[in-house]
Amino acid sequence: MTTTLPRQPFHVAIVGGGGTGGALAHDLILRGFRVTLVERGEVTSGTTGRHHGLLHSGARYAVKDRESAVECIEEREILGRVCPGSFEENDGLFVAITDEDVAYEPLFFESCLASGIPARRVSREEALRLEPNLNPGLKMAVQVPDATMDAMRMPLRFFASAKAGGATIRPWTLVTELLVADRLVSGVRVRDLTNGVEEEIRADLVVNATGPWAEQLAVMADCDVPIRPSPGVLLAVRGRWCNMVVNRLHPSGDGDIVVPQRGLSVVGTSSWVVEDPDDLGVPEDHVERMYAEGAKMIPGIRTAERRAAWSAARPLIGSKDAESGRELSRTFKCFDHRETDGVEGFVTISGGKGTTLRAMAEATADMICRKVGVEAPCRTREVVTLPHTAYYAA
């Protein structure tokens, strides 16, 4: 292993302008790579911008998916440091409504502590003092360090930093083909949608960071990625019904999160599996479920005015036979296609969640460095990202 890149510059082309792509561009720039990122639409317009904006403490995964839980709480702390002033740091409450919830609580509480997630038991009276709009029939609650993030503007900080560091960020740029010959990927063929011009972008390595579209890109190089797009419905109602993130204290289910977003409250989510991440649909019965489940925690939601209802696709890694998506892990994975498919010059990063964008980038950049044979330590745990407005600096 050396500390210098085999050729200068070593050009990495990232396909996909979601949070992962942005964070990876930032990480690679800091490690001395040359980076071009292409995205067919506006950055974060795929799946990243659509989630409810929960900055996970990881408590949701503490019982069933310990790996995800530990990732979340570590990233929660790091993001608070490298994206200062970007979150509503009001913590979160897991509220127990039924006796089953109360019976689940000890396991939940212990799992949180075992995952390194600070947790505090809160009595019914105190919970109602903290959040007066909660269901007065609640039994008790647990406070955890959840927070609210702006699903678009937080990742935008990584794009801003990458751009300022010299990365070329190209939205409105559609990949029409991967340049492949003799099982070696040497770049991408793109069409600039602002002027129709087609061009080839040569690169030493191409990264597939397209999230739920990972399979669609991978097949262009005869590679296979076990990604299942798994959408869920979200509902935004008018009114700021809570300051803290409110969760239901039970094993993960539909409509069991309420996240305050400015003057709205976002209730989510549900889960099913689709083939085409561009055609998700918004099943009205799922929207009704959001109202019903959200109202169990905050009754006022039942009659709150609908601002929007939409779907967002999670990129879930796992077996193609998964039924609902909930049984697939929420962790992330890097695939080196030389090992998985015998194709050189091509890697995929997929899975994960909004909260773990930086960790996904670090793992991918680490893998790239190993692949290339260079030692370049990750600096994204310490380097403070630029404010999101810097992305638009002239």
């Binding site: 974060t44 911008g49 913590d91 949608l193 002027n195 003057g263 009205e284 407005t389």
Partner: protein
Amino acid sequence: MTVTAADARTTRLVVSRRKEGDDPGALRYDTFDVAVGPRTTILDALVAIRRELDPTLTFRHSCFHASCGTCGMRVDGREGLACVTPVPTGDEVVVEPLGNLPVVSDLVVDMDVFYDDFDDAGRPLVRSSEKIPGAAKAEGIDQLERYEDCIECGICLSVCPVAGSDPRYVGPAALAAAWRVVEEPRGLDPGPVVRLMDDEQAAWRCHLAWECTEACPSGVDPAAAIMRLRRSAAAARARRLFSFGGTR
């Protein structure tokens, strides 16, 4: 959108198209028929057009719920966020980009111009939360926080008649942002911000059309913010005028 056979109808979208190199004086519109349902939004319809009919159609979007501010456009001549604008009933609906900002491609406008002025105000992203009646802070929380209302959509700049006639005007969003620094400094010194906006191309350029406040999808009330900023600016000037040999 999930459009079932029972509730579907076809709507005609007339969409402004522009690509790099086109003559800005020569307008061009493409007409598409799209199946829509009772809850289909303009953004849903545009996504369907892009997916099924024309992948070269470009438009900004991200959150789908009026939080990111990227999908601002003019629908039948009125500004709004496409993600929460229902497809109107009627024969045709005209979809055009925002005004007073350069068009990059089709419905995409160049937000660099918006942010150049907006950034000058230096407003932080997070503010102190208004109290939900009766709410207390949880243990370990210093103060309750929330994001500023402004989602930086550019709609206020698009509706402003003054911005339409003078590109040097900093615009309602920048002024409203500056007012928030005065109203809640959060450790910043509001003095320089007031002095920056106490300018003929800033706070004093507004002529009270009040269109910005009416059109804002996020309840910012930029017009009132501009007026309050003017009061601060006028008061600061009066103080300077009447302080002889003071340290100000």
